[in-house]
């Protein structure tokens, strides 16, 4: 008999739902947390999906939306039937367990915000299945309503069923871009074209033929320069990567389908060891083939790791409750996405230049980022130019992205770098000729979403945290009577 364990699954991704329902059917007490359906206020943070500045009016009816969201995901119904405790529209803002220099957490727990209140949900095992987020590089006009990421686009189309757009331009030709086109076409939305900086079609010849049959033009060896419009997207300018004149296309929406990156904020902020995966073009938690991370009883389930193949072994590992062994990483992601993202950024930077706003929260350009310029509110510069390359290499990182964060504020704004941090790292890599793996990524911090103080505040203070709260190390009385033997 397997002793049932309390398992918290964060993320109702495909893997998260599957794992939750299987674990529940295996007799475990499972809680599944997902931040969707998001309230309008939360969607406006562009995390995890990049919705951009236009949020359809239909979203204001949050109850109707919640219903649609439930009905559009049969995997959730499956979880419900299996007896999973579903916490939807709930933000897992942090996860905590005892470890070095934090020995008073007690039972491992997830910090949860639901509506206007919060709680700490205890578990024996934590499974992080937080899925993927949009990768959205900067370009002139990227702040215009009508620009969104492919995950947000699919959410508008299918999850929330409130897509607003009739003539959409799609950036990228990956399988995910093609998938978006299929869904959009099925709903009668016009696709004015697809843009591809390379000579080919990333999703392969069959997909290319399908797109051709739909009569959708593919602009090869072209990149995006800018979006234009008075109050929303009206046009997009493309430029051949080999040089030459711009092509201006009429469109009302731009779907950025260049790539998606794993949501690693929770494992990273918890302190799971990370490794750079060149195939994915991202840092990933180190896992073994069961999805086990470097932290005890914390699993990471992702299509960037072993994917579905990890689910059964993960359940078996949980049943054994064995100690964490040596991690044997799954093979590197073979998507080639890393190189693709890099190529896009290189062509967009060549075409758009460094005056483009890189960090939308703090309004900082690529040039000011790369030059470590103090942010505008300081009205000043540096006495002498300084390079962000501080390390000489070997086993040590050569660039600390945190240094750039601190000095330029790129990644310090309300999105906490969710929109710009990956492009920022790529820019550093391109500009200074330094491998991505030699750039220590900016640190991840809790809460992983911005949260109202009133929502996150403890209403359950213990006597110690309420009455005995100390400022600094002593209460003043204690200062007056220092222990004997001390001057």
């Amino acid at each position: 008999m397997i002793p049932p364990r309390r398992i918290t699954v964060v993320g109702a991704s495909r893997l998260g739902c599957k794992f939750a329902s299987r674990a529940a059917r295996a007799g475990h007490a499972v809680t599944l947390i997902d931040e969707h359906p998001q309230s309008l206020a939360r969607m406006s943070y562009d995390a995890p999906y990049f919705y951009g500045t236009a949020l359809p009016a239909a979203l204001t009816n949050e109850n109707a939306i919640a219903q649609v969201v439930l009905e559009s995901n049969p995997a959730l119904a499956e979880c419900f039937e299996a007896g999973v405790d579903l916490r939807l529209g709930a933000v897992a803002w942090g996860a905590f367990q005892n470890g070095p220099n934090a020995r008073h957490i007690g039972i491992p727990k997830v910090g949860l915000i639901e509506g206007t209140g919060n709680s700490l949900v205890e578990h024996d095992v934590l499974a992080l299945a937080t899925g993927m987020r949009d990768f959205v590089p900067a370009f002139a006009g990227s702040n215009l309503p009508g620009v969104f990421g492919v995950k947000a686009g699919v959410a508008f189309l299918d999850l929330y069923q409130c897509y607003e757009g009739e003539r959409t331009l799609v950036l990228g030709t990956s399988a995910r871009a093609v998938d978006f086109v299929r869904r959009a076409v099925a709903r009668g939305i016009g696709i004015v074209g697809m843009v591809e900086p390379g000579p080919g079609f990333t999703a392969g010849p069959e997909a290319a033929a399908e797109i051709a049959a739909l009569g959708i033009p593919v602009h090869r060896t072209s990149t995006l320069v800018s979006a234009e419009g008075r109050t929303a997207v009206e046009r997009a300018s493309l430029r051949p990567v080999t040089g030459g004149g711009d092509l201006v296309l009429d469109c009302d929406t731009i779907c950025i389908a260049i790539g998606v990156l794993p949501n690693i904020e929770l494992p990273a902020a918890m302190g799971c060891r990370l490794r750079f995966d060149a195939g994915a073009g991202s840092w990933l938690p180190e896992t073994d083939l069961t999805g086990r991370t470097s932290l005890p009883d914390v699993f990471w389930l992702s299509d960037f790791a072993a994917g579905e193949a990890a689910l059964a072994p993960a359940l078996a590992a949980i049943a054994e409750a064995g100690p964490t062994g040596r991690l044997i990483p799954p093979p590197e992601t073979a998507t080639g996405q890393g190189a693709y993202l890099r190529f896009w950024i290189q062509t967009m930077r060549d075409a758009g230049g460094d005056a483009v706003t890189l960090c939308k929260c703090e309004d900082i350009s690529r040039a000011d980022f790369l030059g470590l310029a103090p942010p505008p509110y300081l009205n000043g510069g540096l006495r002498h130019p300084h390079s962000p390359v501080t390390g000489t290499g070997g086993t040590a990182p050569r660039i600390q992205q945190d240094l750039l964060k601190r000095m330029t504020r790129v990644g310090m704004g309300h999105c906490q770098g969710k929109r710009c941090r990956d492009e920022a790292a790529l820019l550093l890599s391109l500009r200074f000729g330094i491998g991505m793996e030699e750039i220590r990524p900016g640190s991840y911090r809790f809460p992983v979403r911005p949260v109202d103080l009133a929502a996150i505040a403890a209403e359950d203070d213990t006597h110690d945290t309420r009455e005995k709260w100390s400022y600094w190390l002593h209460e003043p009385e204690a200062m007056q009577s220092r222990p004997d033997g001390v001057p």
């Binding site: 942090g94 905590f96 070095p100 220099n101 934090a102 020995r103 008073h104 957490i105 727990k109 910090g111 700490l120 302190g271 103090p374 509110y377 300081l378 000043g380 540096l382 006495r383 002498h384 300084h386 501080t390 390390g391 000489t392 070997g394 086993t395 040590a396 600390q400 945190d402 240094l403 601190r406 000095m407 504020r409 309300h414 906490q416 220590r440 640190s443 911090r445 809790f446 809460p447 911005p450 109202d452 103080l453 009133a454 996150i456 505040a457 403890a458 945290t465 309420r466 005995k468 709260w469 100390s470 400022y471 190390l473 209460e475 003043p476 009385e477 220092r482 222990p483 001390v486 001057p487």
Partner: protein, 387 residues
């Protein structure tokens, strides 16, 4: 090739960087070594106050020397520190806190700094957003705050502008001595020699000094902090109330730190984990108990930092007689504000063996009678949690 410097500084925190800049300015060949990146520990995690040390008047002269140096530091370094000299206010919002403030005030009055006990109305004139429950406070128009990350980096860049070198990810594993003098340090990549070595490795100093038979009494402790999203200007004083240090940054974020803290241990060169805990929920609640308008401010990011605390919470500046040329410092949890004068004192000691800075009473001599197991007596041992 054997490398040779006038001064090696162990630790690229704000204390080490300030010392390095001063020493380089005096013409010395200086090398700074750190086990990790520049200013990645306490120095980039502090609130950013200059405390004038009313709590420990013994070291107030050094803090006041720092205050004089803070003015004009931006121009001297050539990089912005966000120094804001708008005074400091301690407010009480509960009767217990009010009583405690009155005791604190007695200590403050021993400093000669113009501290004034003010009533609730005056507190709320200074900071209108304060809760109506405010009962009174202590105010001084002096002191101020700055951005710890910018200030640390400003020292680093100013030092590099003078030709100084900072070597990251180069831990010092051992101190080398010859004939009663310090002769250099050993790193994983070999020995580096210098006539003088200054230990600015915070709590790690103790582990570096232990093999020389020297007891360096510091205890590391982990503290938590967070910032909110930027807000319109609310106040610009260095502010303390309800067990929290609360500062509004130039950018507009509310920066808050305080509360229970966990004692830890420091090895020679291992990075200490700095996890945050659900404590931010309690800090959040206290924050809007002080500033009711912040109820709907948004928490953006939290972090923890580790500081080195001395038994009497007073700075240590010590130049050893044996081995000669070795100097060690601990800033006892308020090294950010103190860094300009502390660095000056340490650089003087390294280059001339003496200093005009008021540090004579800050040596290790005061701990002659310290019991061996002071950390146990204080309950400051690794794992104990102060509430």
């Amino acid at each position: 090739m054997m490398e040779n410097f006038d001064v090696i500084i162990v630790g690229a925190g704000i204390v080490g960087l300030s010392t390095a800049w001063r020493a380089a300015r005096a013409g010395a060949r200086v090398l700074v070594l750190d086990k990790g990146p520049t200013a990645y520990e306490a120095s980039s995690r502090a609130t950013g106050y200059l405390s004038l040390r009313g709590e420990t008047p013994e070291e107030s002269p050094l803090a006041q020397a720092a205050e004089r140096l803070w003015d004009g530091l931006d121009e001297e370094l050539g990089y912005p520190t966000e120094w804001t000299q708008k005074g400091r206010l301690w407010a009480a919002i509960t009767p217990q806190a009010f009583d405690a403030l009155q005791i604190t005030f007695q200590s403050f009055q021993r400093t000669g700094i113009p501290f004034e006990f003010i009533d609730a109305k005056t507190c709320r004139e200074l900071i209108p957003a304060l809760t109506p429950h405010t009962l009174g406070g202590i105010h001084t128009p002096r002191a101020g705050h700055a951005n710890p990350q910018r200030t640390s980096q400003a020292f680093a860049w100013a030092f590099q502008d003078l030709g100084g070198e900072i070597r990251e990810y180069t831990p010092v594993l051992d101190l080398l001595t010859r004939g009663g003098r310090i002769s250099g340090v050993r790193t994983p990549w070999g020995e580096i020699h210098a006539g003088s070595v200054v230990l600015c490795a915070a709590a790690h100093n103790a582990a570096l000094l232990a093999p020389l038979g020297i007891d360096f009494p510091v205890a590391p402790v982990r503290l938590e902090a967070f910032v909110t999203a930027p807000l319109p200007p609310l106040f610009d004083q260095a502010f303390i109330a309800h067990g929290l240090a609360i500062r509004q940054t130039r950018r507009g974020n509310i920066h808050v730190n305080g509360g229970p803290h966990e004692w830890t241990a420091a090895g020679v060169a291992t990075e200490m984990p700095k996890p945050t805990t659900p404590l931010v929920r309690n800090i959040a609640r206290r924050l809007f108990e002080v500033f009711p308008t912040l109820r709907h401010a948004q928490m953006l990011r939290s972090w923890a930092g580790i500081i080195d605390v001395t038994p009497d919470q007073i700075t240590i500046v010590h130049a050893f007689d044996a081995p000669k040329g070795l100097i060690a410092a601990s800033s006892a949890g308020h090294g950010f504000g103190m860094s300009p004068s502390l660095g000056l004192a340490l650089a003087d000691l390294a280059l001339q063996g003496r200093t005009d800075m008021p540090v004579a009473s800050l040596s290790l001599a005061r701990f002659a009678d310290l019991p061996q197991d002071w950390r146990r007596i204080w309950n400051w041992q690794p794992g104990s949690y102060n509430t």
